[in-house]
């Protein structure tokens, strides 16, 4: 029983991590309707920046995390302003090709700079080991992930629902033309959102180095997971992707633990079935454009 709960907790931590990694994609892909397969590249950038800061420059882990966020966001906004914004109106095929090209470039560039082997981030001693909670082993690192990601999710939900920026973003997504007519600077809103999503991905990448593993092929390996979160979760709210990533995280951990040989098989099958059953995602309401 205890191992079941430990697995469940690991699954929740994994799922929350996936959510932080993928929720930026939920905005670009789900709301802005831009197929960005290169989302994982920003996560990888954040992870490597954190690794370099902690391992080489001797920064404390918790100071490096915000910097991973900021650096990835800066990379994101630079690319958005120079490249991405020209492609918002282009066909999906063009967007797919463009972002695949970016993924290939990032993989080779990171391989060139950092080497092809897996990179580890040195963790502070406080994060190692497990806490024993009435027989249930809970990893300290995973507990920290659950806390950080949980707070982030709450903050995101509040920003989207309660702030002026949140309502501008929702207006810009619902009807860009009307939003421009009301004096909302839609390109700016999109650029800011894109950068924020990239920053979250970078933070997720830094957090995930311990759990998912960080190597140059990260964007390709986890691309499908991010896409699953967004397409299965739908894009009408932030709760859809959140529930989808929890589901995916728990299913993946349980699959790897209990049926190690057919784990990935189960996940892909479930994804295809869900997409056929509800093409707009499990929790999606808006018809896809």
């Amino acid at each position: 029983m205890a191992s079941v709960l430990t697995n469940l907790f690991d699954g929740v931590a994994y799922g929350m991590l996936l959510f932080v990694l993928a929720c930026g994609l939920a905005v670009t892909l789900g709301l802005m309707n831009f197929v960005n397969l290169a989302h994982g590249a920003f996560a990888m950038a954040g992870g490597y920046i954190c690794a370099v800061l902690v391992n080489n420059s001797g920064w404390p882990f918790f100071a490096a995390l915000p910097l991973a966020f900021v650096a990835s966001a800066l990379i994101g906004i630079a690319l958005e302003r120079t490249l991405y914004r020209h492609l918002y109106t282009r066909s999906h095929l063009d967007q797919v090709l463009f972002s695949i090209g970016l993924v290939f470039m990032s993989v080779a560039a990171v391989d060139y700079i950092m080497g092809s082997s897996r990179t580890f981030i040195k963790l502070p001693a406080a994060l190692e080991g497990q806490i024993d909670l009435s027989g249930i082993g809970i990893g300290r690192y995973r507990l920290m992930i659950v806390v950080i990601c949980g707070l982030l999710t709450l903050a995101l939900q509040l920003i989207l629902a309660r702030t002026r920026f949140g309502s501008r973003l929702r207006a810009a997504v619902d009807d860009p033309r009307a939003a421009i007519g009301l004096g909302i600077n839609v390109p700016q809103v999109f650029a800011f959102t894109f950068a924020f999503g990239c920053g979250l991905a970078g933070l997720g990448g830094a957090l995930s180095a311990e759990i998912l593993g960080l190597d140059p092929y990260f964007p390709l390996k986890f691309m499908i997971y991010f896409l699953i979160v967004v397409t299965v979760g739908g894009s009408s709210s932030i709760t859809g992707p959140f529930l989808a990533s929890l589901l995916l995280g728990i299913a993946d951990v349980a699959g790897k633990y209990y049926v190690p040989k057919i784990g990935p098989f189960v996940i892909y099958t479930v994804m295809i079935v869900i997409l056929l059953w509800r093409p707009n995602g499990l929790f999606g309401r808006t018809p896809a454009r």
Partner: protein, 343 residues
Amino acid sequence: MTARSDVSSHAIASARWRPSEVVFWIVALSCAFLFPSRYLIMTDIVRLALFALSLDLILGYAGIVSLGHAAFFGVGAYSAGLMALHGIVNEPVFALVVAGLVAAAVGFLTSFLVIRGVDLTRLMVTLGIALLLEALGERFSNITGGTDGLQGIEMQPILGLFAFDMFGKTGLFYSLIVLFVLFLLARRVVHSPFGLSLRAIRNNPLRAAAIGVPVNRRLIAIYTLAAFYAGIAGALFTQTTALASLDVFSFERSADLMLVLVIGGTGYLYGGLIGAVVFKMLQELFQSITPQYWLFWIGLVLVVIVLVGRARIHRWVLFVPNQIIRQFAGRKAVVAVPERDAS
């Protein structure tokens, strides 16, 4: 009735063989004779061209964006490999057709998943199917050989007459003939009324349905045919290299294929063939400059192509040939790329 005769006369006129096409195939054949030291790379190009032709059928003519076309390539490769390994079908040409049919069967079954939903769902489903097959191949590694691949495939002589030699001469001519035959078939298909209706679907599915085109049935048919072509390309891969490993399903293969087609241009059949030649040359070039990091340059090519715009690049490339052709044949005989955005 005049409208119909207009359409058919237009279709017949556009289906006529142009001099440039004849020249293309003569050049292709003469390359096979001119460079005897390059058989292996040329076989590689021919295989890739066939694979790209298969993607062109669904992307260029039906507007289905697929991220997992390697699935059918892999099915064909493994069917051919397993048949040769266990001696089920020994004769390569027959095995080729059987492997193609197996892939077509998989294509037919999965086409029902693909025709549902919009672009994004299609992307995910095609990608998911390829990953699913890869996971299956890994799961049943006792059959597929896992990451090591199928070992010890020995090919019998083609039609019992032409044995595969170590220089790849037989392999090249075999692949070239297969490509030509399948190209003729594809050419016939896309210029038929069936092909015209596909283009109608690509340009506007709703309107096509409104004028009485059975959209879903047409898409299922062309998807199955494309799977057949991809399966044959995969089988050719196994037969000419005596190798089949799990990377036949890989995402990189599907992504490379997109690049091939984008270089050549979609929707006129030669795009895949020209793209395959250019892609392989680029790959050779990049690999000779930076053996480990050529992926970077491939990615850069993709990004630049998209940013400059595919249609514009093709206009630039065709500028010189068109000028020359105009000098000799007048305005009519211009090599045009009838490309519209495929999605």
